[in-house]
Every structure is written in C-alpha cells, then in structure tokens.
Assembly symmetry: C2
Homo-oligomer: 415 residues x 2
C-alpha cells in the first residue's frame, strides 16, 4: 500500500468506529452538536476567509474562470448562510429510529423494520467549499460518519471548514477530510468497501463516471437533467407558455431546468409563436426540428445531439410530435430520467403520461423547477438522484438512512 | 465490439423495450401470464428432463462432485416444485402501483410517491437451473425485464426452462437468457449501465466479487452469513440451548445458520457442558477460545480465522466474553452483518444489543433460522441482502421495485 492508501484506509477504520458511536446518539444530542457546529463556523469566520483567500489567489494564478472563482469564493454572507443551513438541519425531524413497519407472525415473533444510519459515507466533490459543511452535516444528522474528498482548488477552505466543524463536540472522526486532492485518493476511497458503505460524487459527469468505474461500494449518482415539457393538444396554452418560460428561465444552470420542449402537432401553429415570443423576451435561444422551423423560420436547426444535451443555459430545443406516445418515446429515449412534464387539461392523457414516462419526477401542469428537495418539503437535500436503486429523485435525510429488522420472540425455533 | 458484446447489448436494448411494456401491465395480466408460465413448465417436463440429462452427462464427464450433480439435477418432483413456485408467486400481492406516501404542498401541488418496477435486471448465477425460473418470475411479477446468465454446467437445462417460460404470452424479451457462459459475457453484462438498472449475482463469494469489480450499475450482494448467538448472563439457559441447537443444526448449509456462539463469562461454567452435550448429540464439532477450552477440554482451539469463517457445516466456534459490549464489538468486527441473536431475559440488555449490532437482522430470543423472506411473511424471496443500500436482509417483491414521484398541479410556477 502507498502512503495515500494507508492514510485513507486508516481514515476508513476510524470512520467505522465513529459510525458506531454516532448510531447511539439521540436526536437531541445530535442537534446540540449541530448547533455547536453552526456556532463554530460563525466563530471561525476570520480563519475561513484567510484560508479562502489562499484558494482564490491560487485559482487566479491558475487562470480559473471568473465563474469558477465565484463558486470558490467565501465571504461573510456565504459563511453566515453556511451556518444558518446547519442550524436549519438541527430543526429537521430525525429519521433514525423511525419504525417503518411492524408486524407479528403467526408463531408470535414480532418484526420491526427500523430506520438506522447507513454507516460510513464518502463524499467526493469539486470546487464549492460549502459542500464540505452541507454534506457532512446532513450525514451527521442521520448518524453517518463521513469522509470528504474535495477538489484541489478549495483545499485550504475545506480544511478550515472541517477544522471548525471538529470543534463542536462530535465523536472523534465523525467528519474527516482527506488531505490529498490527487486522483489516487479517489481510487483508494472507492476501493475500500470494507470501510465505506456508500459514495456520493457531487460534481460533473466526468467525476461521476470516474467514481462509478472505480467504486466497489454503492454509488448514488446525480447525473444530468435533460428535462422535457410536453404540450398536449388539449393543453391550456396560456398555462403552457407560463410553465415553459418558468421551467426554462427561472434558473437555467440547474439540473431541473427545461432543455427540450415537445409540442403536439395539432396546436403547434397556434402555440409556437406565443411561446417563442415569451421565451425570446427572456433571452432564450431556440433550436427546432424541421417542422418547428416551418413555423419559426428564424431559428437554428436542432441536431440529433441537441436532444440529449443538457444546455444549462438559455437555450431550448423544440420538437413537434404527432401523439402523446411519440412524446413519451422521445423522452424515454433521449431524456435522463430526471423530471418531465405534461401540460394538458385531459386527465386521461395526463395519467397515461405519468404512468409511461420512466423518470424520477413526472409532473402534470407543474414547472420542472419543483423537482427539488426543498420544494417537496424535505427541508434539506443532498442532491437529486438519477439512480433507481435506494434513492430516486430529490434526496432528503430519509434517503441517507438504511434499515434493520429487529425481531423479538420468546424462544421460537424453526421446525 | 466483439460478437458476444454485440449480442448482449442487443439483449439489453430489447430488455429496456420489454420493460416499458411490462410496466404497463396490470397485476391481473401479469398473474395470468404467470399461471401460463407454470403450466408451460409442467408441459415441458419431457424437454426439461432431456436437456437436464445432457447437463448431467457433461457434469459427470467433467467429474463434478455428487453434491454438485445433485444441485444440477431436475426430476419430475423438482419440475413440479418449480411450477408450484410460479403459481404461488401469482397469488402474491403486487407492490407495483402502491402509493408509498402522498402529500399536498402549501402551493397546492400534490405529490405522490408510487412504487414502480426497477426496469431491467441482470441475474448472474451458478449451477442450480431452478434459479432460471425463480428469479425470472419474481422479476416478472414486479414488472421488470430480466437478462439471465447461468453457469455452463446447467446451460441446456436453463435454455429449456427459458424456452418454456417464453411460451406463456409475456411481452417479447421480458425474460432473456444469455446463450454464452464464458467470463466475457459477465463483463459485457456488467458494463452496459445504459441498458441494465441492477445486477443480482447469486452464488459464491468469488462470483459476487467478480461482478462487484466489473459492474457499473448497482449490485445487490448476498455475501456470507457469519451469524452469532450471544448468551447473556441473564439468559434462560434452556432456551439458550434450544436456540443454539436450532440455529446451528436445523439446516447447516445456509447463510442464516449459526457459526459462532458467544457466551457471557458468568454463566459459561453452567451453560457450556449443557450446550456442548446437546450440540454433540446432533453431530456438531466444536471449536473454542482458550477459556472455553478450560471448560470443554476435549475440543479444538478456534483460531483467528475461525471467527470470520462461514462453515456451512456442522461446526461451531465458541467464545467467552466478559460483557454485552464485548459481544457486540466481536460481532461488528468479525460478523458479516447478516443475522445476530441475543438470548436474555433482561429487556434493557436486549434492546441495547438490538440497537448496537450493525446487522440486517438482529434478534432477541429467536433462532437465526428465521432470517428468511418466507418466515418474515414476504411470500417469496430473491435472497438475503448483506448490503445496506436499497435492500437489507430478506428481499421480497417490494425490494424488486423502485419508486417515482408523480406530481399534479394547476399551473404552479416557481417564484
């Protein structure tokens, strides 16, 4: 084993031991520590700013884009937001210990299915230093020990945040930050399935792909959101315009923003000029299929590649379809199984769409932007899973737990 | 791409298309097809026996052990049992379509969390040909398309079983059997995460390890069962003898059989001779820690390796511990997080044990042998997961489903 591997395996052993202690804490004990973490972050503001200045200087030297530097940047407002986020997590209900189901068998044994922490969770993330606090705190609230591995750009900030969190009285090693930022540390983390129960990569597709190919333990993936909105022939067209504009423009750089608009042929001629005008007013560039371009002659063609592109920008591809079935087939083929919407006044068509689209979130007459843990009422969100196993769609605290069967009897044996 | 890869990717595309059709079938439609599958298996008895004879002849030629040949063997009774198993699955409640939770947000959007099929599932298994029918049928009941990859020893039997199942009117490609039995086919299957949502390997540790290292999609693992029974100082010692004997000997070659007995020091002197006599009467070979061997001088020493060995045989290792905490630490360190039991009349001790042991099943005063989907009342079992994500412990039909959020509104946009 290399030094890096040895260090990370040692962190794994420590995380496992911490997880056993964490699992025994009451919700009150955890909430007290969380409030102390928030206070520690506030108190460490000077240290955090100093550490962050080093990262920003190194980033400027390295020629990072201004967008990247902005993501990296901490200021007093952002540090206060981080602390407030932690205080808020302390107020949320704790899923650990909840009885999911309970039944008694004919032989008298009583079976309880109880939510328990997952155990140990690795978080691999890129530039934003606030992930260090956000992810660690959600895992802590649910009784999980975390091993964090952030990107090199934010290393000083991450170290300072982790040091502040460590002052709040949590069991030792409950939150550990890997001091290495090279690829070998990702490989070491992803390989030690004896110590790590789950990895959550938070970042771009390249990072997720790397983790998926290396990991021996489960990975919860948050891939692209190639979200669709289908305007049925029975749609309220004013509502369709409003939902399209909101889905595309309310915030365009996020995974639950709209990327492709599907329009039923029967209403295309009426609907297209209206929606195009509303979108263009918001600065959206449109691309269309050939038929769309008969109606909107001034827009660029959408290529095969466009249908599977997550623009994360003020760009929208438009396609005319002949039926709900064609819309569903397009979504299931080109989409990323994240969030897809039908706009219609036809209840039967809506239900058929919801039943047939293979996505985490399927919406009727609602903006794609509601695919969000906060909007769902989860109080906190670790991400939006594009996986189908364990957690699908917005992931709250509950999705950071596992379960255990606790069975009580009075000497039953199997015959 | 090689021919094998191309063939398997083509099967993947077909499975995805079949999954979309399967997801639309009603429970009644699925049950009708299941009953037709059972009938088709019964009707195909001559073909199954003929195919199985080829496998048995090849196995004999290859020098397979008589135990292996027995696992491979089909006879009229086993074929009838296979058909009965399918008929029974038809009678079980269908989890697909169940509303898990439902709530309305202050803005009026209604959110439903609904059970849906996972989609496409790969099953990789070893010699027993009945897995072909068992696994495919459980996946079919839950609306999932399967791609089966059995071992080379049973290839003729597997092909014949799959051919019989295909005659029952299921959507085309709902159940597909890979005609290759080499390792390349496992790699191809494990690599195509665009077509396969889950892999379940059913077999020995070597097979599972291989799949884990190759798979890009989630894997549900059924590793060893190194199960413990801890006899507390406050135990009813007659009950402790009875539970130990049942856990070890009622069926010893299975994952929920007892492998290590932990005994509190305070009752060791009284308990050990009684339990040893009862176990030896059933032909169990005992191994013990040094202290155990002071009381039972005629048994072999248990080495460090014994504590993490799944004997699957009439062998039991025994260790004396000084406290419940020591028992828990031993179990969490050496166990496989499968099933562990405390025997005690002390309610507080029992609850502490259940809360502290990090295993899928934690039992109080119950034989380990109850860690079983059938005994839990699930009606059917695809296996006992030693994973913590998605499914833990006995896996029934419900664990073969995912979920989807269906959201209904009247034009809500995000502000």
């Amino acid at each position: 084993m290399s030094t890096i591997q040895e260090t990370i395996h040692q962190m794994g052993r420590q995380a496992r031991a911490a997880a056993y202690q964490l699992a025994q804490l009451s919700s009150e004990e955890k909430n007290t520590i969380l409030r102390a973490m928030a206070a520690a972050i506030r108190e460490a503001t000077p240290e955090l700013l100093e550490a962050n200045a080093k990262d920003l200087a190194a980033g400027t030297e390295k020629g990072l884009s201004s967008a990247m530097l902005d993501r990296l940047k901490l200021d007093e407002k952002r540090i206060e937001a981080m602390a407030e986020g932690i205080d808020q997590v302390a107020t949320l209900p704790d899923p650990v210990g909840q009885v999911m189901e309970k039944w008694t068998r004919p032989n008298g044994i009583e079976i309880e299915q109880i939510r328990v922490p997952i155990g140990t969770i690795g978080i691999i993330y890129e530039s934003r230093p606030n992930v260090t606090a956000d992810a660690a705190v959600l895992c802590f609230k649910t009784g999980n020990a975390t091993i964090l591995r952030g990107g090199s750009e934010a290393i000083h900030s991450n170290v300072a945040i982790a040091a502040a969190l460590a002052k709040a009285g949590a069991p030792e090693h409950a939150i550990q930050l890997i001091p290495f930022t090279d690829r070998e540390s990702v490989a070491a983390l992803a390989g030690m399935d004896q110590w790590l129960d789950l990895i959550i990569p938070r970042g771009g597709k390249g990072l997720i792909e790397t983790v998926v190919s290396l990991a021996r333990m489960p990975v919860i993936k948050h891939y692209d959101g190639i979200c669709h909105l289908y305007v049925d022939h029975a749609a309220d067209l004013d509502m369709a315009v409003s939902l399209t504009v909101n889905s595309k423009t309310q915030k365009c750089g996020v995974c639950n923003a709209l990327e492709t608009l599907l329009i039923h042929r029967d209403i295309a001629e009426t609907f297209l000029p209206n929606v195009a005008a509303a979108l263009e007013e918001k600065g959206v560039t449109l691309k269309g299929c050939d038929e769309t371009r008969h109606h909107l002659t001034n827009i660029a063609p959408a290529t095969e590649e466009d249908w599977s592109t997550e623009y994360l920008d003020l760009i929208l591809s438009i396609k005319i379809v002949g039926s709900l079935e064609e819309a569903v087939a397009h979504i299931n083929h080109y989409g990323s199984h994240h969030t897809d919407v039908i706009v219609t006044t036809d209840h039967t068509a809506a239900e058929q769409f919801l039943r047939s689209v293979d996505s985490a979130c399927v919406f009727h007459n609602v903006s794609t932007r509601f695919a969000d843990g906060g909007e769902f009422g989860f109080g906190a969100e670790i991400g939006i899973s594009t996986d189908k196993l364990h957690a699908r769609g917005p992931m709250g605290l509950r999705e950071l737990t596992s379960y255990q069967y606790r069975v009580r009897g009075n000497g039953q044996v199997r015959g």
